[in-house]
């Protein structure tokens, strides 16, 4: 009974994720009349968008469902897959419903994609959103505040509501609440990974990229209730692993399922980080714009695309492994992803120093062949299992 309830929710989430033409966004616009603004990975000021009556829509590439016909005209083979499927979507009209696109400062590929947008769609809002690598409130903070203000202004010029303090504060609160739910699910998966398969959690998070925050909240609540009630989910003899490297271009769903089937419980990951970007609730006292800026400067998740001032690369990963009681690390990165792949040796060094086993592989969002990865992950899980003391059947 509750098993089918879970299934129903997950299917709804999957429908939202596979809704490449963004019909749900179209419906939202018809009902609410605001602007729909797309944003690329990893982080975008969703709080600000919502406060100005806009719907933030996360675009994480086209995934496995998009056949590349024209996208390759823009990208060489040695560039990751995400931008070509994104441009394919745009050229095919799938993104027409969006009133603008945000290109956050995460890597040269997305940076240059903002330029392609400007060349190809001169009439649309293509906003390159620069976030500081200097985390001093007086310097980087001041810059970020100006960026946010400029961006807010650009939205107003496209017909959005002007930014109001109260609205922004309310928006911060709404996203705080949403993040709390996502974080609770992560916590539950950490404690009882058989209850929350990662591919389900993943789909639910992706649904949050297109759904308005309240709707997403409802979905998460329903899911949480349903899995708590579902007695059919029993623990299996699987290895606990942390997955890292998939913060931008997302792996195909089949890959996540393959990993789980090959004997891994993913107990922490870096998929779709925007929904969990601030580790703690943003403060609601004082000027909300400053609060947003400060949350960004001080409370963001670590990411290969953010400068680590203290130079302790990899420490955060080691901590995540410890916190989640993981037995191994999967470096699961998109091919040709410079930020992830250049970060990896530093992370590996730290992980090795901590004595945790790891393995690494690469994917593209449209891979359909998982044989090699299955074998690699399977072997990894085998070895954790065969050599762990508790050999429960």
């Amino acid at each position: 009974m509750s098993a089918s309830r879970v299934q129903g929710i997950v299917e709804r989430a999957e429908d939202l994720c596979r809704d490449l033409r963004l019909e749900s966004v179209r419906r939202w616009k018809e009902q609410n009349g605001g602007l729909a603004i797309g944003f690329m990975p990893i982080w975008a000021p969703r709080e600000l968008l919502r406060a100005q009556g806009c719907l933030p829509v996360g675009i994480m590439g086209g995934g496995e469902d998009v056949e590349i016909i024209k996208g390759d005209a823009f990208y060489q083979s040695y560039i990751c897959h995400l931008p070509r499927s994104t441009i394919e979507l745009a050229l095919g009209g799938s993104l027409d419903v969006l009133d603008g696109m945000i290109f956050p400062a995460i890597c040269d590929v997305i940076r240059n994609l903002s330029g392609i947008w400007k060349l190809r769609f001169p009439e649309r809002l293509a906003y390159y959103f620069d976030s500081p690598q200097d985390f001093d409130p007086q310097i980087g903070g001041a810059f970020l505040r100006r960026e946010l203000e400029e961006f807010s202004h650009a939205l107003v010029q496209r017909g959005a509501r002007p930014l109001e303090t109260e609205a922004l504060r309310e928006s911060l609160a709404a996203y705080n609440a949403n993040r709390a739910r996502v974080q609770a699910l992560y916590q539950l998966r950490r404690d009882e990974p058989w209850k929350v398969p990662t591919w389900e959690l993943y789909l639910l998070q992706r649904a949050g990229l297109v759904a308005p925050v309240e709707e997403h909240d409802r979905m998460l609540d329903e899911y949480l209730a349903a899995i708590r009630a579902d007695e059919s989910r029993r623990p299996l003899d699987q290895a606990r692993v942390v997955l890292t490297g998939s913060f931008c271009e997302q792996p195909p769903l089949g890959l996540i399922k393959t990993l789980e089937r090959a004997g891994c419980y993913i107990v922490d990951d870096d998929f779709i980080q925007v929904g969990r970007w601030f580790k703690n609730p943003a403060s609601l006292d004082g000027d909300p714009l400053d609060n947003l800026v400060n949350a960004f400067l001080r409370d963001s998740l670590e990411s290969p695309t953010r400068y680590e001032e203290q130079g302790n690369k990899g420490e955060e990963l080691v901590r995540r492994v410890a916190d989640s009681r993981a037995e191994g690390v999967l470096f699961c990165t998109p091919s040709f992803c410079d930020p992830a792949l250049l970060d990896q040796p530093m992370a590996v060094r730290a992980i090795e120093a901590s004595g945790t086993p790891w393995t690494a592989f690469k994917y593209a969002e449209n891979n359909g062949q998982f044989q090699v990865i299955r074998e690699q992950a399977g072997t990894f899980a085998d070895s954790i299992k065969l050599f762990s003391e508790a050999l429960s059947p």
């Binding site: 060489q76 040695y78 690598q133 310097i139 980087g140 960026e147 250049l342």
Partner: protein
């Protein structure tokens, strides 16, 4: 760094300057001179020199390793150490060199950095690169984040942000390392010399407007930009080098001579092209020769603007020292958005009466490459001139397929010739 046929005086001088610099670096441990590692785009040479600090540019080392045939080994070593095949080979080449004893291009061991100046202009990989070096050297690191010119112009907010970082982060860090107080007048003096050298460099690059062009603005160009893009901007040596270079080029124009190629002076200029993208260093001469064999001269290139877009009007300004450093960093070629890069290319095509555009796309560099195909199509659409696309890499010889590139180049030039033959004879460019 040799060009076979005839060595000009400027060439000799340049070689000597660079050799001396490396010798000085080699002696730095004994002499007590301090060095700062930093990057070519957005380098703050004047500022470093104002503190008597010596710049070390890992990118230059990497390209030199490529030219000296060392890069394959270095890259292999880095990959063995767990660096991915997919990422920028400059980084791997540098790490491999470091792991092999950090012997620089002149055989001297390079000193460890006293400071890593992570000036982060036009490329996100720089960030990772110095994070990696930081782990190796455990050296103090200072970040200078240069925002991207997303809308094709420098905004006051961006300038303010960079200047604030210079003032509150970079300069204090340099003071700490050098043990010297910041002297703005010393900086102004450097900037004044920079501006003069920049004038001469621009004159040289623009000499390619002549027919035949006295220089090759890509293969030859990379030699010309050497001093100003690396450790010498703002120095007296650089000033003299560029003056001398200018005189030589003026002489060639007067004699109606073409550029000197690896096989000697180019006899007949058959094609004039603009090139976008960095060159390949491992087969640099072979690559150049492929152009020369076809009678092709590169009359303008964007690569020679990665360390500053002087020909677009920027000059270092002693009257606005920090602001002009900020503007310099913000204005390097790879920090310009794609529409601006397209504008620049179209302008070059026109200004230098080029027959076409060739894009050389390198696997390493997303900063350059991601989007080049879109640029290519846009330039073709706007200018109606033939465009061509070549792929290889900066310093990984595995990606330089000579047969393939030659094939594409031949096809490209045959295409240009055929098109020209068919066109009503308006401006045949062969003399």
């Amino acid at each position: 760094m040799t060009i076979a046929a005839r060595k000009d005086r400027s060439q000799e001088r340049q070689k000597q300057m660079i050799a001396e610099h490396f010798q000085r670096l080699g002696r730095a441990r004994e002499s007590g001179e301090k060095c700062v590692y930093t990057f070519v785009p957005g380098n703050l040479t004047e500022l470093l020199r104002a503190f008597d600090l010596l710049p070390v540019l890992p990118e230059i080392n990497a390209l030199q390793s490529g030219m000296r045939g060392k890069s394959r080994e270095y890259i292999g070593l880095a990959e063995k150490l767990g660096h991915s095949e997919d990422v920028c080979t400059y980084v791997k080449c540098d790490i491999g060199m470091l792991k092999s004893g950090n012997i620089g291009p002149t055989g001297e061991r390079l000193p460890d950095p006293d400071l890593l100046l992570l000036s982060y202009t036009g490329c996100f990989t720089f960030l990772k690169w110095f994070e990696l070096l930081r782990q190796e050297y455990r050296a103090p690191t200072v970040m200078l984040h240069v925002p991207y010119q997303a809308d094709g112009q420098i905004t006051p907010s961006q300038r303010e942000y960079v200047v604030a970082q210079l003032k509150h982060k970079v300069i204090p860090a340099l003071e700490r390392v050098s043990g010297k107080k910041f002297d703005i007048d010393k900086l102004r003096e450097q900037l004044r010399r920079s501006a003069q050298a920049e004038d001469d460099l621009v004159w040289v690059l623009q000499s390619a407007r002549h027919r035949p062009s006295p220089i090759d603005a890509y293969f030859g160009g990379v030699y010309y930009i050497g001093p100003i893009f690396s450790a010498f901007r703002g120095t007296q040596e650089a000033l003299e080098y560029y003056r001398e270079l200018r005189e030589e080029v003026a002489e060639r124009i007067a004699l109606g001579l073409g550029p000197v190629t690896p096989d000697g002076p180019l006899e007949r200029e058959k094609f004039r092209v603009v090139v976008e993208g960095p060159p390949n260093w491992t087969s640099f001469r072979e690559f150049w020769k492929m152009f020369a064999d076809e009678g092709a001269v590169v009359v303008a290139s964007t690569y020679t603007k990665v360390g500053g877009t002087y020909d677009l009007g920027f000059r270092h300004d002693p009257d606005r020292p920090l602001e002009s450093l900020a503007d310099y960093c913000l204005g390097c070629y790879t920090n310009l958005n794609l529409p601006t890069r397209v504008d620049v290319l179209c302008q070059y095509m026109d200004e230098y009466s080029a027959d076409g555009l060739l894009v050389h796309s390198v696997k390493s560099c997303n900063s350059f490459s991601a989007g080049q195909l879109a640029m290519l199509n846009e330039v073709e659409r706007r200018t109606g001139k033939p465009v061509g696309f070549l792929e290889s890499d900066l310093v990984d010889p595995r990606y330089f397929s000579a047969a393939n590139i030659k094939n594409r180049l031949e096809s490209y030039f045959q295409m240009v010739a055929q098109k020209r033959a068919a066109a009503p004879r308006t401006e045949a460019s062969a003399p």
